[in-house]
Protein backbone atom coordinates (compact mmCIF):
# COMPACT_ATOMS: atom_id res chain seq x y z
CA UNK A 1 0.00 0.00 0.00
CA UNK A 2 2.84 2.34 0.94
CA UNK A 3 4.63 1.56 -2.31
CA UNK A 4 1.55 2.38 -4.40
CA UNK A 5 0.93 5.57 -2.43
CA UNK A 6 4.59 6.66 -2.72
CA UNK A 7 4.61 5.89 -6.46
CA UNK A 8 1.51 8.03 -6.87
CA UNK A 9 3.07 10.89 -4.89
CA UNK A 10 6.25 10.57 -6.94
CA UNK A 11 4.33 10.77 -10.25
CA UNK A 12 2.35 13.81 -9.06
CA UNK A 13 5.55 15.49 -7.89
CA UNK A 14 7.24 14.87 -11.25
CA UNK A 15 4.18 16.37 -12.95
CA UNK A 16 4.82 19.56 -10.99
CA UNK A 17 8.56 19.39 -11.63
CA UNK A 18 8.34 19.06 -15.41
CA UNK A 19 6.56 22.32 -16.14
CA UNK A 20 7.83 25.41 -17.87
CA UNK A 21 9.66 27.44 -15.17
CA UNK A 22 7.89 30.60 -13.92
CA UNK A 23 10.95 32.59 -14.87
CA UNK A 24 13.39 31.10 -17.37
CA UNK A 25 16.24 33.28 -16.16
CA UNK A 26 15.88 31.91 -12.62
CA UNK A 27 16.18 28.37 -14.02
CA UNK A 28 19.27 29.30 -16.02
CA UNK A 29 20.76 30.94 -12.93
CA UNK A 30 20.30 27.76 -10.90
CA UNK A 31 21.35 25.37 -13.67
CA UNK A 32 25.12 26.19 -13.76
CA UNK A 33 25.25 26.12 -9.95
CA UNK A 34 23.81 22.61 -10.00
CA UNK A 35 26.18 21.56 -12.80
CA UNK A 36 29.03 22.59 -10.54
CA UNK A 37 27.63 21.17 -7.30
CA UNK A 38 26.36 17.83 -8.60
CA UNK A 39 28.73 17.29 -11.53
CA UNK A 40 32.07 19.05 -11.19
CA UNK A 41 32.28 18.53 -7.44
CA UNK A 42 31.82 14.80 -8.04
CA UNK A 43 34.95 14.70 -10.19
CA UNK A 44 37.47 14.04 -7.38
CA UNK A 45 35.67 10.89 -6.20
CA UNK A 46 35.20 9.73 -9.82
CA UNK A 47 38.93 10.23 -10.52
CA UNK A 48 40.14 8.43 -7.39
CA UNK A 49 37.77 5.46 -7.64
CA UNK A 50 38.16 4.99 -11.40
CA UNK A 51 41.98 4.99 -11.37
CA UNK A 52 42.20 2.61 -8.44
CA UNK A 53 39.48 0.24 -9.65
CA UNK A 54 41.05 0.20 -13.15
CA UNK A 55 44.41 -0.71 -11.61
CA UNK A 56 42.99 -3.35 -9.27
CA UNK A 57 40.88 -4.87 -12.04
CA UNK A 58 43.97 -5.20 -14.23
CA UNK A 59 45.94 -6.96 -11.49
CA UNK A 60 43.09 -9.33 -10.62
CA UNK A 61 42.31 -10.14 -14.27
CA UNK A 62 45.98 -10.90 -14.92
CA UNK A 63 46.15 -13.21 -11.89
CA UNK A 64 42.99 -15.04 -12.96
CA UNK A 65 44.04 -15.40 -16.58
CA UNK A 66 47.52 -16.83 -16.00
CA UNK A 67 47.04 -19.50 -18.63
CA UNK A 68 49.49 -19.92 -21.52
CA UNK A 69 46.59 -20.76 -23.84
CA UNK A 70 45.08 -17.30 -23.38
CA UNK A 71 46.45 -14.47 -25.53
CA UNK A 72 48.65 -11.95 -23.67
CA UNK A 73 46.28 -9.12 -24.49
CA UNK A 74 43.38 -10.78 -22.57
CA UNK A 75 43.94 -8.69 -19.43
CA UNK A 76 43.57 -5.37 -21.28
CA UNK A 77 40.52 -6.60 -23.17
CA UNK A 78 38.71 -7.86 -20.04
CA UNK A 79 39.57 -4.72 -18.07
CA UNK A 80 38.26 -2.51 -20.88
CA UNK A 81 35.00 -4.37 -21.34
CA UNK A 82 34.33 -4.58 -17.59
CA UNK A 83 34.90 -0.85 -17.25
CA UNK A 84 32.77 0.00 -20.28
CA UNK A 85 29.91 -2.36 -19.61
CA UNK A 86 29.49 -2.25 -15.87
CA UNK A 87 31.91 -0.36 -13.70
CA UNK A 88 31.84 3.14 -15.17
CA UNK A 89 28.08 3.23 -15.63
CA UNK A 90 26.50 1.07 -12.93
CA UNK A 91 29.03 0.90 -10.10
CA UNK A 92 30.01 4.55 -10.50
CA UNK A 93 26.32 5.51 -10.45
CA UNK A 94 25.78 3.49 -7.27
CA UNK A 95 28.63 5.43 -5.66
CA UNK A 96 27.21 8.72 -6.93
CA UNK A 97 23.77 7.70 -5.62
CA UNK A 98 25.38 7.93 -2.19
CA UNK A 99 27.13 11.23 -2.73
CA UNK A 100 24.68 13.13 -4.91
CA UNK A 101 21.51 11.44 -3.64
CA UNK A 102 22.20 12.27 0.00
CA UNK A 103 23.23 15.80 -0.99
CA UNK A 104 19.97 16.48 -2.83
CA UNK A 105 17.72 14.81 -0.23
CA UNK A 106 19.33 16.59 2.72
CA UNK A 107 19.36 19.99 1.01
CA UNK A 108 15.69 19.86 -0.01
CA UNK A 109 14.70 18.14 3.25
CA UNK A 110 16.32 20.89 5.31
CA UNK A 111 14.51 23.49 3.22
CA UNK A 112 11.26 21.66 3.96
CA UNK A 113 11.66 21.48 7.74
CA UNK A 114 12.87 25.11 7.99
CA UNK A 115 9.75 26.25 6.08
CA UNK A 116 11.77 27.58 3.13
CA UNK A 117 9.64 25.48 0.75
CA UNK A 118 6.47 26.84 2.39
CA UNK A 119 7.88 30.34 1.88
CA UNK A 120 8.31 29.63 -1.85
CA UNK A 121 4.76 28.27 -2.08
CA UNK A 122 3.31 31.28 -0.26
CA UNK A 123 5.08 33.54 -2.76
CA UNK A 124 3.26 31.69 -5.53
CA UNK A 125 6.38 29.88 -6.78
CA UNK A 126 6.09 26.29 -8.03
CA UNK A 127 8.65 25.09 -5.47
CA UNK A 128 9.00 21.61 -6.97
CA UNK A 129 9.81 23.05 -10.37
CA UNK A 130 12.15 25.73 -9.02
CA UNK A 131 14.11 23.45 -6.69
CA UNK A 132 14.11 20.07 -8.43
CA UNK A 133 14.12 20.66 -12.19
CA UNK A 134 17.60 22.30 -12.34
CA UNK A 135 19.04 19.46 -10.26
CA UNK A 136 17.60 16.70 -12.47
CA UNK A 137 18.55 18.42 -15.74
CA UNK A 138 22.06 19.29 -14.50
CA UNK A 139 22.79 15.79 -13.26
CA UNK A 140 21.41 14.12 -16.40
CA UNK A 141 23.59 16.44 -18.52
CA UNK A 142 26.73 15.82 -16.45
CA UNK A 143 26.42 12.08 -15.95
CA UNK A 144 27.49 10.88 -19.45
CA UNK A 145 30.63 13.03 -19.18
CA UNK A 146 31.40 11.59 -15.75
CA UNK A 147 30.89 8.05 -17.07
CA UNK A 148 33.08 8.55 -20.15
CA UNK A 149 35.69 10.25 -17.98
CA UNK A 150 35.56 7.30 -15.58
CA UNK A 151 36.07 4.85 -18.47
CA UNK A 152 39.18 6.73 -19.60
CA UNK A 153 40.60 7.02 -16.09
CA UNK A 154 39.95 3.33 -15.37
CA UNK A 155 41.96 2.43 -18.46
CA UNK A 156 44.72 4.81 -17.32
CA UNK A 157 44.73 3.03 -13.94
CA UNK A 158 45.29 -0.29 -15.72
CA UNK A 159 48.05 1.24 -17.84
CA UNK A 160 49.83 2.52 -14.72
CA UNK A 161 49.95 -1.06 -13.43
CA UNK A 162 51.83 -1.96 -16.59
CA UNK A 163 54.21 0.97 -16.14
CA UNK A 164 54.97 0.48 -12.46
CA UNK A 165 54.87 -3.32 -12.09
CA UNK A 166 56.00 -6.33 -14.07
CA UNK A 167 52.58 -7.97 -14.01
CA UNK A 168 51.77 -7.00 -17.60
CA UNK A 169 53.67 -5.20 -20.34
CA UNK A 170 52.25 -1.89 -21.50
CA UNK A 171 52.34 -3.16 -25.07
CA UNK A 172 50.10 -6.14 -24.21
CA UNK A 173 47.77 -3.91 -22.20
CA UNK A 174 47.47 -1.34 -24.99
CA UNK A 175 46.83 -4.06 -27.53
CA UNK A 176 44.13 -5.56 -25.28
CA UNK A 177 42.22 -2.34 -24.74
CA UNK A 178 42.09 -1.74 -28.51
CA UNK A 179 41.31 -5.31 -29.56
CA UNK A 180 37.77 -6.02 -30.88
CA UNK A 181 36.46 -2.72 -29.57
CA UNK A 182 32.66 -2.41 -29.79
CA UNK A 183 31.60 1.27 -29.84
CA UNK A 184 28.02 0.19 -29.06
CA UNK A 185 29.16 -0.64 -25.50
CA UNK A 186 29.92 3.03 -24.91
CA UNK A 187 26.49 3.97 -26.24
CA UNK A 188 24.90 1.35 -23.98
CA UNK A 189 26.74 2.74 -20.96
CA UNK A 190 25.77 6.30 -21.75
CA UNK A 191 22.09 5.33 -22.10
CA UNK A 192 22.25 3.56 -18.74
CA UNK A 193 23.94 6.53 -17.11
CA UNK A 194 21.23 8.92 -18.34
CA UNK A 195 18.51 6.72 -16.81
CA UNK A 196 20.45 6.30 -13.57
CA UNK A 197 21.13 10.04 -13.30
CA UNK A 198 17.41 10.73 -13.60
CA UNK A 199 16.60 8.06 -11.00
CA UNK A 200 19.22 9.24 -8.49
CA UNK A 201 18.24 12.92 -8.67
CA UNK A 202 14.46 12.50 -8.86
CA UNK A 203 14.19 9.86 -6.13
CA UNK A 204 16.44 11.87 -3.81
CA UNK A 205 14.42 15.02 -4.52
CA UNK A 206 11.21 13.11 -3.80
CA UNK A 207 12.42 11.96 -0.38
CA UNK A 208 13.77 15.41 0.45
CA UNK A 209 10.63 17.21 -0.68
CA UNK A 210 8.37 15.06 1.49
CA UNK A 211 10.58 15.23 4.59
CA UNK A 212 8.90 16.30 7.78
CA UNK A 213 9.85 16.70 11.42
CA UNK A 214 13.40 17.54 12.41
CA UNK A 215 17.05 16.88 11.65
CA UNK A 216 16.69 13.17 12.45
CA UNK A 217 13.91 12.85 9.87
CA UNK A 218 16.02 14.61 7.22
CA UNK A 219 18.70 12.00 7.94
CA UNK A 220 16.13 9.23 7.43
CA UNK A 221 14.98 10.80 4.16
CA UNK A 222 18.57 10.97 3.02
CA UNK A 223 19.13 7.29 3.86
CA UNK A 224 15.88 6.28 2.11
CA UNK A 225 16.93 8.28 -0.95
CA UNK A 226 20.26 6.44 -1.20
CA UNK A 227 18.86 2.96 -0.47
CA UNK A 228 15.88 3.20 -2.80
CA UNK A 229 17.87 4.99 -5.48
CA UNK A 230 20.43 2.16 -5.41
CA UNK A 231 17.75 -0.54 -5.62
CA UNK A 232 16.16 1.21 -8.61
CA UNK A 233 19.56 1.47 -10.32
CA UNK A 234 20.08 -2.29 -9.98
CA UNK A 235 16.56 -3.03 -11.25
CA UNK A 236 16.86 -0.71 -14.26
CA UNK A 237 20.37 -2.01 -14.94
CA UNK A 238 18.89 -5.48 -15.43
CA UNK A 239 16.04 -4.13 -17.54
CA UNK A 240 18.21 -1.98 -19.84
CA UNK A 241 20.86 -4.67 -20.20
CA UNK A 242 18.20 -7.14 -21.21
CA UNK A 243 16.75 -4.67 -23.71
CA UNK A 244 20.04 -3.48 -25.22
CA UNK A 245 22.44 -6.40 -25.00
CA UNK A 246 20.29 -9.51 -25.03
Amino acid sequence: MGLISDTGKYVLLMKRVFQVPDRGRMFFRQFPKELDKLGLQSLPIVVIISVFIGAIMTIQTKLNSANPLLPTYTTGLVTRDTLLLEFSSTIMCLILAGKVGSNIASEIGTMRITEQIDALEIMGVNSANYLILPKIVAFVVMMPFLVIFSMGLGLVGGYLVGVFTNIITTADYLKGIQYAFVPYYVFYSVVKSLVFAYLISSVAAFYGYYSYGGALDVGKSSTNAVVNGSILILFFNLLITNLMLN
Binding site: R23, T114, E115, D118, M123
Partner: protein, 252 residues
Amino acid sequence: MIEVKNVDKSFDGNHVLKNVSAVFETGKTNMIIGQSGSGKTVLMKSIIGLHRIDNGRIEYDGRNLPDMRMSDIRLLRREVGMLFQGSALFDSMSVLENVMYPLEMFSPSSKDEMMDRAYFCLKHVSLEEKSFGLAPSEISGGMQKRVAIARAIALQPKYLFCDEPNSGLDPKTSLIIDKLIHEITHEFGITTIINSHDMNSVMEIGENIIFIEKGEKAWQGNKDDIFHVDNDALNNFVFASELFKKVKRTNQ
Protein backbone atom coordinates in the same frame (compact mmCIF):
# COMPACT_ATOMS: atom_id res chain seq x y z
CA MET B 1 -10.34 42.30 3.83
CA ILE B 2 -10.36 38.57 4.49
CA GLU B 3 -13.57 36.90 5.59
CA VAL B 4 -13.70 33.41 7.03
CA LYS B 5 -17.19 31.91 7.02
CA ASN B 6 -18.26 28.70 8.79
CA VAL B 7 -14.93 26.96 8.33
CA ASP B 8 -14.52 23.35 9.42
CA LYS B 9 -11.32 21.35 9.28
CA SER B 10 -10.62 17.82 10.51
CA PHE B 11 -7.53 15.62 10.52
CA ASP B 12 -8.23 11.87 10.60
CA GLY B 13 -11.56 12.39 12.36
CA ASN B 14 -10.12 14.96 14.79
CA HIS B 15 -12.32 18.06 14.40
CA VAL B 16 -9.76 20.89 14.76
CA LEU B 17 -11.75 23.89 13.46
CA LYS B 18 -15.46 24.01 14.26
CA ASN B 19 -17.65 26.41 12.29
CA VAL B 20 -15.20 29.32 12.63
CA SER B 21 -16.28 32.68 11.20
CA ALA B 22 -14.26 35.88 11.45
CA VAL B 23 -13.51 39.11 9.62
CA PHE B 24 -9.92 40.33 9.22
CA GLU B 25 -9.99 44.00 8.42
CA THR B 26 -7.86 45.96 5.99
CA GLY B 27 -5.30 48.37 7.48
CA LYS B 28 -5.49 46.72 10.89
CA THR B 29 -3.32 44.29 12.78
CA ASN B 30 -5.65 41.32 13.17
CA MET B 31 -4.48 38.80 15.75
CA ILE B 32 -5.40 35.16 16.21
CA ILE B 33 -4.69 34.12 19.78
CA GLY B 34 -5.24 30.95 21.74
CA GLN B 35 -3.50 28.25 23.71
CA SER B 36 -1.19 25.75 22.08
CA GLY B 37 -3.31 23.13 20.33
CA SER B 38 -6.36 25.40 20.14
CA GLY B 39 -6.32 25.40 16.33
CA LYS B 40 -4.96 28.88 15.61
CA THR B 41 -2.10 27.65 13.42
CA VAL B 42 -4.51 25.38 11.51
CA LEU B 43 -6.80 28.39 11.01
CA MET B 44 -3.96 30.51 9.66
CA LYS B 45 -2.68 27.75 7.37
CA SER B 46 -6.24 27.19 6.14
CA ILE B 47 -6.61 30.88 5.36
CA ILE B 48 -3.37 30.83 3.37
CA GLY B 49 -4.42 27.64 1.60
CA LEU B 50 -1.72 25.34 2.99
CA HIS B 51 -4.59 23.25 4.44
CA ARG B 52 -7.68 22.45 2.36
CA ILE B 53 -10.77 23.10 4.49
CA ASP B 54 -13.69 20.63 4.77
CA ASN B 55 -16.49 23.23 4.72
CA GLY B 56 -16.96 26.98 4.57
CA ARG B 57 -15.62 29.96 2.68
CA ILE B 58 -12.37 31.95 2.86
CA GLU B 59 -12.84 35.16 0.92
CA TYR B 60 -10.01 37.46 -0.10
CA ASP B 61 -11.93 40.63 -0.98
CA GLY B 62 -14.75 38.47 -2.30
CA ARG B 63 -12.58 35.81 -3.97
CA ASN B 64 -13.32 32.44 -2.39
CA LEU B 65 -10.06 30.52 -1.94
CA PRO B 66 -11.50 26.96 -1.78
CA ASP B 67 -13.17 27.47 -5.19
CA MET B 68 -9.92 28.52 -6.89
CA ARG B 69 -7.77 26.38 -9.16
CA MET B 70 -4.09 25.95 -8.23
CA SER B 71 -3.02 28.39 -10.95
CA ASP B 72 -5.39 31.05 -9.52
CA ILE B 73 -4.18 30.35 -5.99
CA ARG B 74 -0.61 30.98 -7.20
CA LEU B 75 -1.69 34.32 -8.65
CA LEU B 76 -3.46 35.23 -5.40
CA ARG B 77 -0.37 34.34 -3.41
CA ARG B 78 1.59 36.99 -5.25
CA GLU B 79 -0.58 39.42 -3.29
CA VAL B 80 0.43 37.71 -0.05
CA GLY B 81 3.49 38.22 2.14
CA MET B 82 4.35 35.92 5.00
CA LEU B 83 6.61 36.14 8.00
CA PHE B 84 7.40 32.65 9.27
CA GLN B 85 8.12 31.67 12.85
CA GLY B 86 11.71 30.74 12.01
CA SER B 87 12.02 33.50 9.36
CA ALA B 88 12.43 30.86 6.58
CA LEU B 89 15.11 32.88 4.80
CA PHE B 90 16.82 31.07 1.93
CA ASP B 91 20.16 30.13 3.42
CA SER B 92 21.88 29.78 0.04
CA MET B 93 21.25 33.50 -0.61
CA SER B 94 22.50 36.71 0.97
CA VAL B 95 20.21 39.15 2.80
CA LEU B 96 19.83 41.30 -0.33
CA GLU B 97 19.27 38.26 -2.58
CA ASN B 98 16.50 37.06 -0.26
CA VAL B 99 14.62 40.34 -0.71
CA MET B 100 15.40 40.44 -4.43
CA TYR B 101 14.08 36.91 -4.94
CA PRO B 102 10.29 37.61 -5.10
CA LEU B 103 10.99 40.67 -7.26
CA GLU B 104 13.11 38.71 -9.73
CA MET B 105 10.49 35.98 -9.79
CA PHE B 106 7.41 38.11 -10.38
CA SER B 107 8.18 41.78 -10.90
CA PRO B 108 8.17 43.15 -14.45
CA SER B 109 10.59 45.92 -13.33
CA SER B 110 14.14 46.38 -14.57
CA LYS B 111 17.09 45.09 -12.56
CA ASP B 112 17.87 48.61 -11.27
CA GLU B 113 14.29 49.20 -10.20
CA MET B 114 14.24 45.86 -8.39
CA MET B 115 17.49 46.73 -6.64
CA ASP B 116 16.03 50.10 -5.59
CA ARG B 117 12.93 48.38 -4.23
CA ALA B 118 14.99 45.82 -2.31
CA TYR B 119 17.14 48.60 -0.79
CA PHE B 120 13.98 50.55 0.10
CA CYS B 121 12.44 47.54 1.87
CA LEU B 122 15.61 46.68 3.76
CA LYS B 123 16.13 50.27 4.87
CA HIS B 124 12.46 50.51 5.80
CA VAL B 125 13.00 47.74 8.36
CA SER B 126 16.08 49.62 9.66
CA LEU B 127 18.73 47.28 8.34
CA GLU B 128 22.15 48.74 7.69
CA GLU B 129 23.70 48.46 4.24
CA LYS B 130 26.75 46.63 5.58
CA SER B 131 24.56 43.60 6.40
CA PHE B 132 23.05 43.31 2.91
CA GLY B 133 25.77 40.98 1.65
CA LEU B 134 25.74 38.69 4.69
CA ALA B 135 24.21 35.23 4.78
CA PRO B 136 21.13 34.73 7.01
CA SER B 137 23.22 32.56 9.35
CA GLU B 138 25.58 35.51 9.93
CA ILE B 139 22.93 37.84 11.35
CA SER B 140 20.95 37.82 14.63
CA GLY B 141 17.43 36.42 15.06
CA GLY B 142 15.94 39.92 15.23
CA MET B 143 17.72 40.94 12.03
CA GLN B 144 16.52 37.75 10.34
CA LYS B 145 12.93 38.71 11.21
CA ARG B 146 13.50 42.17 9.72
CA VAL B 147 14.86 40.65 6.52
CA ALA B 148 11.85 38.32 6.42
CA ILE B 149 9.54 41.34 6.79
CA ALA B 150 11.44 43.17 4.04
CA ARG B 151 11.06 40.12 1.77
CA ALA B 152 7.37 39.82 2.65
CA ILE B 153 6.64 43.44 1.67
CA ALA B 154 8.90 43.51 -1.40
CA LEU B 155 6.03 42.87 -3.82
CA GLN B 156 3.74 45.34 -2.02
CA PRO B 157 1.34 42.66 -0.74
CA LYS B 158 -2.31 43.30 0.05
CA TYR B 159 -2.25 40.63 2.73
CA LEU B 160 0.47 39.96 5.32
CA PHE B 161 0.57 36.84 7.49
CA CYS B 162 2.83 36.58 10.53
CA ASP B 163 3.22 33.26 12.32
CA GLU B 164 4.53 33.81 15.84
CA PRO B 165 6.66 36.81 14.79
CA ASN B 166 8.25 37.18 18.23
CA SER B 167 9.19 33.57 18.71
CA GLY B 168 12.74 33.29 20.04
CA LEU B 169 13.26 37.04 20.39
CA ASP B 170 14.05 39.06 23.52
CA PRO B 171 11.29 41.40 24.81
CA LYS B 172 12.91 44.56 23.44
CA THR B 173 13.42 43.13 19.94
CA SER B 174 9.90 41.67 20.07
CA LEU B 175 8.52 45.14 20.70
CA ILE B 176 10.49 46.55 17.76
CA ILE B 177 9.21 43.82 15.44
CA ASP B 178 5.61 44.35 16.66
CA LYS B 179 5.84 48.08 16.02
CA LEU B 180 7.37 47.49 12.62
CA ILE B 181 4.52 45.17 11.58
CA HIS B 182 1.99 47.68 12.94
CA GLU B 183 3.60 50.61 11.07
CA ILE B 184 3.82 48.69 7.79
CA THR B 185 0.17 47.61 8.10
CA HIS B 186 -1.02 51.19 8.49
CA GLU B 187 1.42 52.77 6.04
CA PHE B 188 0.64 50.42 3.17
CA GLY B 189 -3.00 49.60 4.06
CA ILE B 190 -2.35 45.87 4.33
CA THR B 191 -4.68 43.25 5.81
CA THR B 192 -2.35 41.78 8.42
CA ILE B 193 -3.06 38.58 10.32
CA ILE B 194 -0.76 37.68 13.21
CA ASN B 195 -0.80 34.33 14.90
CA SER B 196 0.52 34.83 18.43
CA HIS B 197 0.40 33.78 22.03
CA ASP B 198 2.61 36.66 23.13
CA MET B 199 0.42 38.79 25.40
CA ASN B 200 2.77 41.78 25.12
CA SER B 201 2.06 41.83 21.37
CA VAL B 202 -1.66 41.50 21.95
CA MET B 203 -1.68 44.46 24.33
CA GLU B 204 0.60 46.50 22.10
CA ILE B 205 -0.81 46.12 18.58
CA GLY B 206 -4.00 44.01 18.82
CA GLU B 207 -6.56 46.08 16.88
CA ASN B 208 -8.78 43.13 16.02
CA ILE B 209 -8.31 40.05 18.17
CA ILE B 210 -9.84 36.63 17.55
CA PHE B 211 -9.58 34.19 20.43
CA ILE B 212 -9.71 30.52 19.46
CA GLU B 213 -10.61 27.96 22.12
CA LYS B 214 -10.80 24.23 21.29
CA GLY B 215 -11.25 24.94 17.60
CA GLU B 216 -14.04 27.48 18.01
CA LYS B 217 -14.03 31.25 17.93
CA ALA B 218 -14.65 32.10 21.57
CA TRP B 219 -14.30 35.89 21.38
CA GLN B 220 -13.54 38.77 19.02
CA GLY B 221 -12.67 42.34 20.00
CA ASN B 222 -9.71 44.71 20.41
CA LYS B 223 -6.96 45.29 22.97
CA ASP B 224 -9.11 47.75 24.94
CA ASP B 225 -12.17 45.46 25.07
CA ILE B 226 -10.07 42.61 26.40
CA PHE B 227 -9.94 44.13 29.91
CA HIS B 228 -13.71 44.07 30.25
CA VAL B 229 -14.56 40.64 28.93
CA ASP B 230 -16.52 38.14 30.96
CA ASN B 231 -15.06 35.04 29.33
CA ASP B 232 -13.28 32.64 31.68
CA ALA B 233 -11.29 30.85 28.99
CA LEU B 234 -10.04 34.16 27.57
CA ASN B 235 -9.28 35.64 30.99
CA ASN B 236 -7.42 32.50 32.05
CA PHE B 237 -5.37 32.64 28.87
CA VAL B 238 -4.66 36.38 28.62
CA PHE B 239 -4.32 37.19 32.30
CA ALA B 240 -2.52 34.03 33.36
CA SER B 241 0.46 35.88 34.87
CA GLU B 242 0.31 38.01 38.03
CA LEU B 243 1.67 40.96 36.08
CA PHE B 244 -1.18 40.91 33.57
CA LYS B 245 -3.71 40.41 36.39
CA LYS B 246 -2.41 43.64 37.93
CA VAL B 247 -2.59 45.38 34.56
CA LYS B 248 -6.21 44.25 34.22
CA ARG B 249 -7.13 45.51 37.69
CA THR B 250 -5.50 48.87 36.90
CA ASN B 251 -7.40 49.18 33.62
CA GLN B 252 -10.70 48.25 35.22
